[in-house]
């Protein structure tokens, strides 16, 4: 029976293959009492030695397949396996309770799994997978339960499992296994990270796949959208194969574009920038050849903390990004808290309409000490790279002027303290409310740049809550009203001679590129993975043709007509 399941796209790609259900042979734990402790201790130790040998083998294989760096994780596994404290505690259980080695070990290990599962840091919490991986191997070896060999599977296999442990992933035979799908797990789980370095397509967190799939079922894994289809129709298979070929060709083409600039056929250069949430995203930014940061969301600094981050903490984070970007522009947005983003340590009142409430710049201007701390950190970081400051949720020039005054105060303070910073640091605003779009020219005369935040601009222009699933189909940035707001903003910016970029989801929407380019957008800022695709689009475009397209679509009545017209335009290229 055909079944469509949605999960999380953990590693991109699309394949059609056959299901291999990776279910463990059930482990039988002997719960008898009054066993001979000496014999059980020997089983415990023998199981450990066997596991150690296997882990050494896996380490060797990983070093060969993925390089020495990735293999070092298994050194950690061996250390955990040989942890003296754990061993002593388990031996104690065996002696005191006279129970089997496997029963004692499963109890002993559970204590630590509990501890790790209760940590507040999500990355460290996921390390419990390492521990369970090791414990499982050890228990299997003690009881003589066979461990399934993932290194010897038929061609075109898609592994379907509850979860894959690091050692599972390392053993996968890449000649025959073409993708995996798991029931649990997220994007930062080990198996997901490994899948990306192996370039093995993977969909994780599907919740029900183990109930839905059977061995040998035909399966489509679309790890571009996170969709999995079990027993697809012939039509779906044909489409998937096409999509796969397209993906592979594009992947190769895109790799060539990494070091190229986004220059149109008629020689107009636009910025291909990336959005980030913190210093750890820079690797992806550089790998994808972005030539700047169009949006650094500083909220995470505030959200991943139990108090307001200090000037020093903020400075370190901003400085790291500025330095790593090595002279390329880094646009840092001041705190955008409120709306759907709450802080545990800040008393944000429950509001009827949080998106229309006390958030972002409104909070900052009511509590200027928050903004001042952030400004000082930003100014200090500007001594280490090309930093620009961006204010969110602006609706009036009063807000802009007040924010600028506070910035000038901070500059004066730093000057007095003899601290080095960029005295001409640019201050820009997000265009995400209709009020700014309507009056763009006036705002543009008082700030250094604009960046259109299409997520909120769409929500506020259409009066459509972007979190409400019931009206999700109404939320469409191709709605002519939204496009008009974008066009007004771009015209306003250019009338005053300032640059304008876009940092919402719409910037990374490949269908939108010709229209945005035709309207005169100066830079596109998006998730790092979208950068190469948008670069490629720009390289194939001609400004004059895009301007003519804009004229045509802006005379149209509905989003559907507009999208159809753009598709027609793209096909003619």
């Amino acid at each position: 029976m055909r079944k469509l399941i949605e999960g999380i796209d953990a590693s991109p790609g699309i394949v059609v293959g056959k299901v291999f259900l990776y279910k463990d042979t059930e482990l039988v734990i002997n719960k008898d009492k009054a066993l001979d402790p000496k014999a059980e201790e020997k089983r415990l130790l023998d199981g450990r030695n066997a596991s150690k040998e296997q882990l050494f083998e896996i380490r060797k294989m990983t070093a060969k397949k993925l390089g020495e760096d990735k293999a070092t994780i298994f050194d950690g596994h061996i250390t955990l396996l040989e942890d003296e404290d754990l061993f002593e505690e388990v031996v104690e259980l065996i002696e005191e309770d006279q129970i089997s080695a496997e029963y004692a070990l499963s109890q002993g290990i559970e204590v630590y799994c509990d501890m790790l599962e209760n940590l507040d840091d999500p990355y460290l919490r996921e390390r419990v997978a390492d521990l369970r991986d090791i414990a499982k191997r050890w228990l299997y070896n003690i009881t003589g339960t066979p461990i399934i060999d993932l290194g010897n599977l038929p061609a075109d296999t898609v592994i379907v499992a509850n979860d894959l442990t690091p050692s599972d992933t390392a053993q996968i035979d890449l000649k025959n296994v073409i993708a995996f799908v798991t029931q649990i797990g997220g994007k930062t789980a080990h198996s997901s990270i490994m899948a990306r370095s192996l370039e093995l397509p993977a969909v994780v967190g599907t919740k029900t796949i183990l109930n839905d799939a059977k061995d040998e079922d035909t399966i489509i894994v679309d790890a571009l959208t996170g969709k999995v289809i079990i027993n697809p129709t012939n039509d779906e298979i044909v489409q998937a194969v096409k999509a796969k070929e397209k993906f592979n060709v594009e992947k190769e083409e895109l790799k060539q574009l990494k070091d190229k600039k986004a220059i149109s056929k008629d020689g107009i250069t636009v910025g291909a920038w990336a959005n980030i949430g913190g210093p750890s995203d820079i690797g992806g930014v550089l790998r994808n050849g972005a030539d700047g940061i169009g949006l650094y969301r500083t909220e995470f600094l505030f959200m991943n903390s139990d108090k307001f981050p200090t000037e020093e903490e903020q400075f370190e984070a901003y400085k790291e990004v500025a330095e790593k970007m090595n002279g390329l522009p880094v646009t840092i947005r001041t705190m955008d808290i409120g709306g759907d983003k709450a802080l545990s340590y800040m008393d944000l009142p429950e509001e009827e309409n949080p998106f229309l409430g006390w958030r972002a710049i409104r909070v900052c201007l009511d509590r200027p000490e928050i903004l001042k701390t952030q400004y000082r950190a930003l100014l200090r970081a500007s001594g280490f790279g090309y930093v620009k400051i961006m204010l969110p949720m602006i609706i009036s020039l009063d807000e802009v002027r007040k924010s600028k005054e506070i910035l000038e105060e901070c500059k004066a303070e730093l000057k007095n303290e003899g601290i080095n910073f960029d005295e001409n640091i640019q201050l820009g605003i997000m265009v995400e409310t209709p009020s700014v779009a309507f009056r763009a020219k006036y705002f543009a005369e008082e700030v250094d740049f604009f960046s259109i935040g299409t997520n909120d601009l769409t929500q506020y222009t259409l009066a459509v809550d972007r979190g409400n699933e019931k009206i999700a189909d109404l939320y469409d940035s191709f709605n002519p009203g939204v496009l008009a707001a974008i066009q007004l903003s771009i015209e306003g910016a250019h009338a005053a001679g300032i640059p304008i970029s876009m940092c919402g989801e719409f910037a990374g929407d490949e269908l939108a590129t010709p229209v945005l380019f035709g309207m005169g957008l100066d830079a596109f800022s998006m998730s790092a993975i979208s950068v190469l695709g948008i670069k490629r689009n720009i390289i194939h475009l001609d400004k004059k043709e895009c301007e003519a397209l804009v004229e045509r679509v802006m005379a149209m009545a509905t989003a559907e007509e507009i999208k159809a017209e753009i598709r027609k335009f793209n096909e003619s290229l």
Binding site: T79, D83, L116, L124, P279, S280
Partner: protein, 87 residues
Amino acid sequence: MAFKTVEITNDTGLHTRPGNEFVTVAKTFESKIEVENEAGKKVKGTSLLKLLSLGIKKGTSVTVHAEGSDADTAVEKLTDLLANLRD
């Protein structure tokens, strides 16, 4: 008896791989090594399991204690390692 406190600055904190580095180095000293997290929980520095259970993440401070003939060197080396963890 020697001790020193440092702040963890790498993004992913003390997880399996860097933790293994720590334990490997800790085992080279004669001194008894203990590691304490911000909440005051103190564990043996040569047990990777116990170290992981401390949940040492970015932005938190960690104290290394050492007792024995090479306590000073041990504390210096181990805190240096913690302050410069790779992700």
